[in-house]
Amino acid sequence: MTTTAEPATPVSEIGRARTRKEDARLITGRTRWTDNITLNGMLHAAMVRSPVAHGRITSIDVSEAKKMPGVVAVFTGADLDSEQSGLPCAWPINAEATPPRHVSIAVDKVNFAGEIIAVVVARSAAEARDAVDAVEFDIEPLEPVIDLNDALTDRTVIHSELGTNKWVTFPFDSVAAGATSGPSADEVIAAAENDPDSVVVTRTWRQQRLIPAFMEPRSVVVDPTGEQLTVWSSTQIPHVLRTMLGVTLGLPEHKLRVIAPDVGGGFGGKLQVIPEEILTILVANKLRRPVKWTETRSESLVSGHHGRDQIQTVTIAAKKDGTFTALKFDFIADMGAYFGLFTPAVPVFGAFIGPAVYKFPAYKAVFTDVFTNKTPTDAYRGAGRPEATFAVERIVDELAAVLGRDPMDLRKQNWIKNTEFPYTNAGGLTYDSGNYEAATEKALELFDYEGLRREQEERRRNNDPVQLGIGISVFTEMCGLAPSRLLGALGAGAGGWEHAAIRMLPTGKVEVVTGSSAHGQGHETAWSQIVADKLGVPFEDVEVLHGDTQVSPKGMDTYGSRSLPVGGTAVVKCAEKVIEKAKKVAAHLLEADESDIDFAAGRFSVRGTDKGITIQEVVFATFLSHNFPEGVEPSLDSEYTFDPENFSFPHGTHLAAIEVDTETGKVHLRKYVCVDDIGSVVNPLIAEGQIHGGLAQGIAQALYEEANYDEQGTLVNGTFVDYTLPSAADLPSFITDRTETPATTNPLGVKGVGEAGTIASTPAIVNGVLDAIRHLGVEHVEMPCTAQRVWRAIQEAEQQGGAQ
């Protein structure tokens, strides 16, 4: 049993650009999407949705629909209301009021176009959809509340029980919060307005409404066969969903099994408990048959939650020498018609990160959450942080323009220097580490900042019809959601821990159970790398299990760039527990004292001797338990639940070279460079892929995407024909690089990467567009910066006399 062979030189798995384990099934079509599931006797549900944004249901007639071929049942709100309860909001922000009941199926009133008013169940999906068209209904229209400022007048109140469309005004004041001392932002700004040595810049702009637009349409299969109720759902949050189904529907949690099989993207859009999950469960239970619901893309765009949608008023005060003295946000945020899981909290999440990389001596942020007759909003990649980052990075550029300063120099003057960490920002967050200088220096070099500035000047001089702009965004964000105590203090309905378990199989193979439920991120590969390193076993010998509450009973799931900093840390801690247990066994088998046992590269050895034993041998000896230390549990299996002490703070410098054709308004993204500091990296290939995808979504907000409503509250671009996701032809290749300042708050030194690209890129692009045409007198272009908007902005500026 004792081996004396020298172990092979260990190659560290952590940090290795491993290609992914997940790919094998995904590139060959051996996939397990929820819609692939077919069960014996399974029926299909289809939803009848209101085309009216705001109205009273005066009649629903399902008699014709019930006669259609293959139709098994049709349910209306009246049939299901006593059982449907209300959909959960886990973070209402406002302790003073009760959120309006968010019904899964409307009973007498509809509050957005797309709201479900009936459920058809039929033998096939096609028959169910046919019968949807046969449901007759009348909805008496009420005046729709579409515009945010109009909503605040309460001319028409959507939820009469609240008596107002305003849900809450959430203020954050750095002085009140103890994050800064001295005068408040309001006082500083008031004083600066009358101070000849100071300058105050205020701007108001839109964060347009976006649609997450994951590629896999949402799908739910419910199987009531047997003792348990099994729910497959294309969700980011199988664990949260299970608990919430228990809390809201009163279903016994131990009789519920939720499975998120292969899930085709989420980006926050599947961080939700959806009406269709509730309704599929209710009808399956009623009919005692398995039922599937899969949405069409048009349904998805109109009914899946949207993101962003704010009117932002941003004020910055500074000394004339460029020193920032105060920052103030006043944001009005569109909740849509109802609250989802995190709807009212999403805007507020940006409050703490608002001061970004800068040293603001005073800061205030006011968020007003407002209901409208539109699809509910909720988390979309970045959730609160892109909005805040856009505000601060855009206003810094505006200030630079007013002061006549190079926008990068102005940033450098005001950012937190690398010698000043840990640093508590004016939002009350303590940034543990960072090095903005290093990332910026690398980015400027990769970008050829000086060369492009020269080209810009040349094009200006020559009055070139194509002008060049340089867009800058130096960002930081908060990842690793989240310290549970902090969430509690902020009124959230859940903690922010993550769970891991490791099972050592007799043959030396390893099962890793994680509560992080991946949907494209590559956890199976990254977690295998971590465990391979920590236990010294081959990468191939590790199997990662997730996304099924029966296999992985505990978890807080995947969102907020939390998986690696929180879930990955849980895996590390769990592996350490396995080693601690195995050490006792190894000491016994090697007839040595435990304190003399070292573990490295999968081998326990007696310090100062050549005696040793592999971890696989220890595992098998534990399996046999023949020769085992007295009083020790014969198992190496371990569990760990990790609760982070702080957020992690990735940062980076993003630079965009933007060409604007001043004659047509067409924007061309010529070059994009980003240097991100996401701390230590487990798999550079995966991390870089996350950056690429994040960039695409952030750039798409700046240039391409917007969910448009008409004045009746109809989503007018609710298909992929006109909701313009960028294609390969709309984006360039990206130049990405990294600096590495490890996080100090987790053993891996990781910070999270999922949202960085999205958060950083939107202001970089818009700043670049402005930088190209500012000399023509343009101060802002609303997103998306389409050719039409840019052209119009140039025309309007010219009519007003061009640049001052």
Partner: protein, 172 residues
Amino acid sequence: MTQIRVTVDGVEYADDVEPRMLLVYYLRERLGKTGTVVGCDTSNCGACTVHLNGQSVKSCSVLAVQADGAEVTTIEGIARDGQLHPVQQAFHDNHALQCGYCTPGMIMQAIDLLGDNPDPDEQEIREGLEGNLCRCTGYHNIVRAVQDAARRMKPGASADTPAPAAVAGGGQ
């Protein structure tokens, strides 16, 4: 009901189908070929791309009855003798997929693209994939993968990699 005879991934099927049934639903619901997926209802996303007689089509825009007498190849039919198609291999090697939902269509379209243009430059690849949407990758690594696959598939690049034209017709 209309009877169709169709060869899918090398297997011949004879089935009665509703005239309105789309090819993608025939593949998924009748044949269990769930490797091919549906991503939209307006033929914009390309997730359902397969080859029909060697040409890429969006199988949500083709009726099953239009495939009568035809040969269909899906993502499940392009690996040979346990060997991945070079485009599949290149997608894996270049991390050209994350959630993987667009991947079957993207791979089928990339094979078609390389069949038409074995040596595309970056812009030609981007334009050739314009009808296939991906929300995860920003297309960066998909473009790299197609460039890599083009290199691998050049005549003489590697003896054991099949040429795309031979694969496009299907077979297992």
